[in-house]
């Protein structure tokens, strides 16, 4: 049974000007320990999908959500708000694009860790939290955990903050980690190190990952399976290697062609809107379980 099963997910927002449909029937699944990527450009709906899985959009007035989102077999829609909140930070956690602004600037790292750890052990003291945080920081290859714990986020580099965020996200040993464009705000060498680190950690702990990105290269290196999303629809899905080596859908092919190559080559002539982008979904192999 998959850890996360999304079927026919639809999302609409009610605005001044009328109803805006954002997601038109998303289907995806993640098994235990699997690394799955959701690739799309801005406005494709990838970030809102993550927020629905986290249970953040369900309570927004004006948001109408249809379809099924099952986590560990339980439909999120059938849970109360309280129960959804209980999952967040414990069984499902998330890391975000810009690490420095995702951490609270007016608190040092240690109290922020305590807040995170308190989700599992509500009565944890600051001293106990420091001890566990030190061990977690060492896992993410931070050599001076004490100094980091006593620093404010703005005193640390972007790469350091990203690792702190990963440590916090994995602190409560979640079953599922959502990663929204991690490393985008970092230098390319730091990004490479961070992604290696993440890959190692999730393999060690058996955590599943839903990795959201617009960066094809990162997706190729990190994900076992890939879903390509275009304007609220999944257009291609399958094992990463299959999708990248033999993209079947017009949109996926356009994305591949548009990406400049390290090996050089001429600049392609890309059409931004092509009716073929709305072709039906291309599936490689047997998706999910």
């Amino acid at each position: 049974m998959s850890l996360l099963e999304v079927r026919n997910l639809t999302l609409s927002f009610r605005l001044w000007s009328g109803i805006v449909d954002v997601l038109h029937g998303i289907a995806l699944s993640i098994a235990k320990g699997e690394r799955v990527a959701l690739v799309g450009e801005s406005g494709s709906g990838k970030s809102v999908t993550a927020r629905i899985v986290l249970g953040l959009l369900q309570d927004l007035p004006g948001a109408q959500i249809g379809g099924e989102v099952r986590f560990n077999g339980r439909d999120l829609a059938s849970l109360s708000r309280h129960e959804r909140e209980a999952l967040r930070g414990r069984d499902i956690s998330m890391i975000f694009q810009d690490p420095t602004s995702s951490l609270n600037p007016v608190y040092k790292i240690a109290p922020q860790f305590r807040e995170v750890l308190a989700r599992r052990t509500p009565r944890i003291t600051l001293a106990e939290a420091r001890e566990r945080a030190t061990a977690l920081l060492q896992e993410v290859a931070i050599t001076e955990p004490a100094r980091v714990l006593d620093s404010y986020p703005f005193q640390l580099s972007g790469g350091m903050n990203q690792r702190v965020m990963i440590a916090m996200a994995l602190a409560n040993r979640p079953a599922l980690l959502l990663a929204d464009e991690p490393g985008t705000a970092l230098d390319v060498t730091v990004q490479a190190q961070t992604l290696d680190l993440m890959a190692r950690l999730v393999a060690d702990h058996g955590t599943s990952v839903l990795f959201i990105s617009h960066n094809l290269g990162v997706v190729r290196e990190f994900a076992d399976r890939t879903y390509v999303i275009y304007r609220g629809r999944i257009v291609e899905a399958g094992p990463t290697q299959a999708v990248f080596e033999a993209p079947g859908h017009a949109y996926t092919r356009a994305l591949m062609a548009a990406q400049p190559r390290l090996t050089g080559g001429a600049l392609p002539d890309i059409v931004e809107r092509d009716p073929r982008f709305f072709d039906p979904v291309v599936l490689h192999g047997v998706p999910g379980c």
Partner: protein, 263 residues
Amino acid sequence: MLSVQGLSKIYVTGRHNVAALTDVTLTVQTGECLAVVGESGSGKSTLANLVLGLTPPTAGTMMLDATPLPARRTIDHRRAIQLVQQNPLSALNPRRSVGASLRLALDVHGIGNPATRPAKVSALLADVGLTPDYAARAPSALSGGQRQRVAIARALACDPRLIVLDEPTSALDVLVQAQVLRLLHDLRLNRGLTYLFISHDLAVVRAIATRVAVFRHGRIVEAGATDALFTSPQDPYTRSLIAAVPVITEQEKAMRDRLGASS
């Protein structure tokens, strides 16, 4: 056309000094695209600020077409060097129409007479692939790619000698980035423009630059023609940069591994 010699910039902040650029010497030939590549803290943004005359150098000289560029620029100097920024949303005044933003350069430099300027604005929009009716629109009504095209049109408006592009496609989606890069490339070839292209994205640099200068901690570590630099980079830092780029094809992966193994 542009040459800088021994350029240095030290920022004095409170307790300590930050050497953003140290002894940088390079030239940009007319009609080429020189890419400046580096990570954060490499000094590439500082170089842009110095070339644009936004901040004076601590040491060194700059020459444009063999005449020196002073620290305080005259209006003719300003006209000669223009800028395309990274963030197209912030780069256009949200309270002015697209046409008004484009007209600014024409009005400031007295290009044409006031009666002909609207026509010139339409011509500029056409150059970047937008229809004349865009002139009346507000920037908030445009997509990121369209805004960046307007920013490019604005940079072209006063016929500059050199255009500095500071990460012009980093904030754009993949498909839009491809279109904008193609537009920039075609404009340069068709009009003999000259670009100083600042980027952290090596794949983009490979696609668009004729020559590349690699910066690290405020110094140039390697410079050369694009193909040569990518096929056989000399400096270990350059190699590590290339090796860290996430790639999508097997050929690129093979190239990276080959370079990474020898660093």
